[in-house]
Symmetry: C2
């Protein structure tokens, strides 16, 4: 059983950022400088090729802290953020780059490779959540959310399907091929982001993944624009979603 | 040229509500009690069978005032809110009630009747907007939004298609049959509400109306649940949408 080992700490504008390791896994934890004892925890999964402290992660963490006062944690996915790559990683990444350069669809490689990464990432997330909940400032009683798009959805959907401690999630921007089945076992409230003019993910495929969730409460946010043009106001919307569902004063009609 | 004639005024919790007439048209204007001189104006269209001060109208007006400090105006649609019904109104309403009682789809009657009401309502909205903008506390320079679902969309889409003073709009919950054409002439930012399990409006039909808007910036909010189960948090989202697009400090990335 691994514990959280803090390796660095910085603070700015009311947010404390701490790098940590849990065994071999590298992560980051953001908390309100004013203290967030026993506050809810949001786990965030980064996109493919990114890392635990990519600008999108830092920006979303700050929005959640500013809006909700929660704790926010990310970990580097296998083969990401300086973590060692296997020969299989190198082969799949080369294949994806080859397809992209050739103007071929990336989807088939990305779907297959992300499913492989999800299998490796799941036990890492579970061990990280166990370790974070043993920290006195987080604790095991508070609600937990998950927020991840792109590869963060490919890893997050199977994670949420097996982890009952996670009670609200924001997903999006992925194909349904591998994920529709675990999504059909998810019943917690979901917010789902989709780009209406996504050049990689067919519109009907994106809608099919949203449709697959068994959640009684689920909301689709589809914005005009290409795959990378997700509006920043969706990060604000996600923060409000977590405030509604994980906040101590949350109500179903809020 | 008709002016705004105020007929009643009440005030509660920081909101001033004034009933008015513009010619034969009855309306209501809500403003912050703290004063909203030259603040933006949001026009709201009510649903079928409702009226200018239906609970949804009052609730949405309060949210917009609390969140944005704007002015909000509604008018009773033709044949609604105590306004006289024509023989044609009576015939169509009877036909709709008959279809409902027989368990037949209401859509064909509602689409046809709403299109008829929109034709009658358009000149009334234009005269009302003219008159409201001649009020010293509103003025002709401020930005104008439109917010209407169900019949409020059936009237609002053709209105927005011809009225360049309206620069942001929230629509939703309607069939595309008559509205896709005027929607294809609309280029302003749009937020669009759809119920994923709508028992009256087929999912692909709802998506087709969202798709029809020519707007570069448009966002679909699709929530699980039946036609009448639109979550209340969508009214908060609409208020934030108007704050982003009509607010004095609005930026495209806000």
């Amino acid at each position: 059983m691994h514990s959280v080992n803090f390796t660095a700490e910085t603070s700015s504008d009311g947010v404390v950022e701490r790098d940590f390791t849990v065994g071999e896994v590298t992560g980051a934890l953001w908390s309100p400088a004013s203290g967030a004892e026993r506050a809810p925890l949001v786990l965030m999964g980064h996109g493919g090729g990114q890392h635990r402290k990519a600008p999108a992660m830092v920006g979303r963490a700050r929005r959640i802290i500013d809006h909700c006062g929660f704790n926010v944690a990310t970990i580097d996915a296998p083969g990401h953020g300086g973590r060692p790559r296997t020969a299989h990683d190198e082969k799949e990444i080369a294949e994806m780059l080859r397809a992209r350069a050739a103007g071929e669809p990336e989807g088939p490689v990305v779907v297959r490779y992300n499913a492989h990464l999800a299998e490796r990432a799941l036990p890492e997330w579970l061990a990280t959540l166990d370790a974070l909940q043993r920290l006195p400032e987080i604790g095991a009683e508070g609600p937990v959310g998950y927020y991840g798009l792109n590869m963060g959805t490919a890893i997050g959907v199977p994670l949420v399907a097996v982890e009952p401690r996670i009670t609200a999630a924001v997903f999006g921007l992925h194909w349904p091929d591998v994920l529709a089945e675990p999504a059909s076992r998810i019943t917690i409230p979901i917010e789902f982001d989709l780009q209406w003019d996504d050049e990689h993910i067919d519109r009907q495929a994106g809608l099919a993944l949203f449709d697959a969730f068994a959640s009684k409460e689920k909301t689709l946010h589809a914005n005009s624009g290409s795959h990378k043009e997700l509006p920043r106001f969706e990060a604000d919307s996600a923060a409000r979603f977590f405030a509604r569902h994980l906040g101590r004063a949350a109500t179903s009609s809020a």
